[in-house]
Symmetry: C2
Subunit: 138 residues, 2 copies
DNA sequence: ATTACATTTGCAACATTGATGCAAATATAT
DNA sequence: ATATATTTGCATCAATGTTGCAAATGTAAT
């Protein structure tokens, strides 16, 4: 059962519609928050590791997914909102990692950081916050 | 030629003073900005890869170095300022990557991001900015 | 529908990085 | 000077990122 939206998403990015790619997109659509490669692999069932790696990479390149770094170690991925352009991922949201349940949420900041360095030209920010989420705050 | 400050730094962190560790510290002290593992290896000359890996890791653990993530790929390291505690790296500064010269600067933000999510408990931020630095702004 | 062509997949092979166990070497305190 | 805990160097391994290439597949043109 193919979501029509996913086919159009792929076509709009000039990517061919394959079952592998729709399977991967299905996995991401079934998760509200960002997930890591292990989760994708588990839910995907049997598959080729290299193909998945290239699929994720391509999805990031064209702006279907974006990558989130958890500390220095692991990476997570999430579907880009429609505002995501192919060229640059200009996220005006920040990533919040709950140190209790390890879920990664995308939040909308009221204000991005302000830097007092007038001679530097600042093009983009990436912000990651850590703390305790709603559910885990007992 | 051993810097007395480095010996004291190691002792204050309850680490033994070895030539390997002072060599590594020398490399970092000769750079104003953050450097990556390749740069450390190059300037260190012949050495054991695993020992360097463990040395860097220990330095991060005790708060001598801190780690900076460049995009999703590479890591850089820099000496912690004296305000860095062993337990937690509570940096109130952000990392700025010049996309032209690839230097990584530590900047002091006037204001950290503000999040409109009152039910989340936010403990820390990590911020990375990208743009063009002073030198490269032609 | 069939064909032609470019894309995508799956496999082999390899590079890089992160990590652990252990014996030898070394720093520190007595 | 010696005892002891730390550190180093080596072997080894796991996980991840990457490329080349032939076979398979999607897409567009006929």
């Amino acid at each position: 059962m193919l979501h029509l939206g996913m086919k159009n998403l792929l076509k709009s990015k000039k990517l061919r519609v394959t079952s592998f790619r729709t399977d991967v997109l299905n996995v991401f659509q079934s998760h509200e928050n960002a997930i890591d490669m292990g989760m994708v692999e588990k839910e995907l069932g049997e598959h080729d590791r290299i193909t998945l790696y290239r699929t994720i990479k391509k999805f990031i390149d064209v702006g279907i997914l974006h990558e989130i770094l958890i500390n220095g170690e692991s990476k997570k991925y999430a579907l880009c909102s429609h505002s995501c352009e192919s060229e640059a991922h200009h996220h005006d949201h920040i990533h919040f990692l709950c140190t209790d349940c390890n879920e990664t949420y995308c939040l909308e900041p009221q204000q991005m950081p302000v830097i007092n360095h007038p001679s530097f030209q600042i093009d983009s920010f990436e912000v990651q916050a850590k703390g305790i989420c709603d559910n885990c705050k007992s």
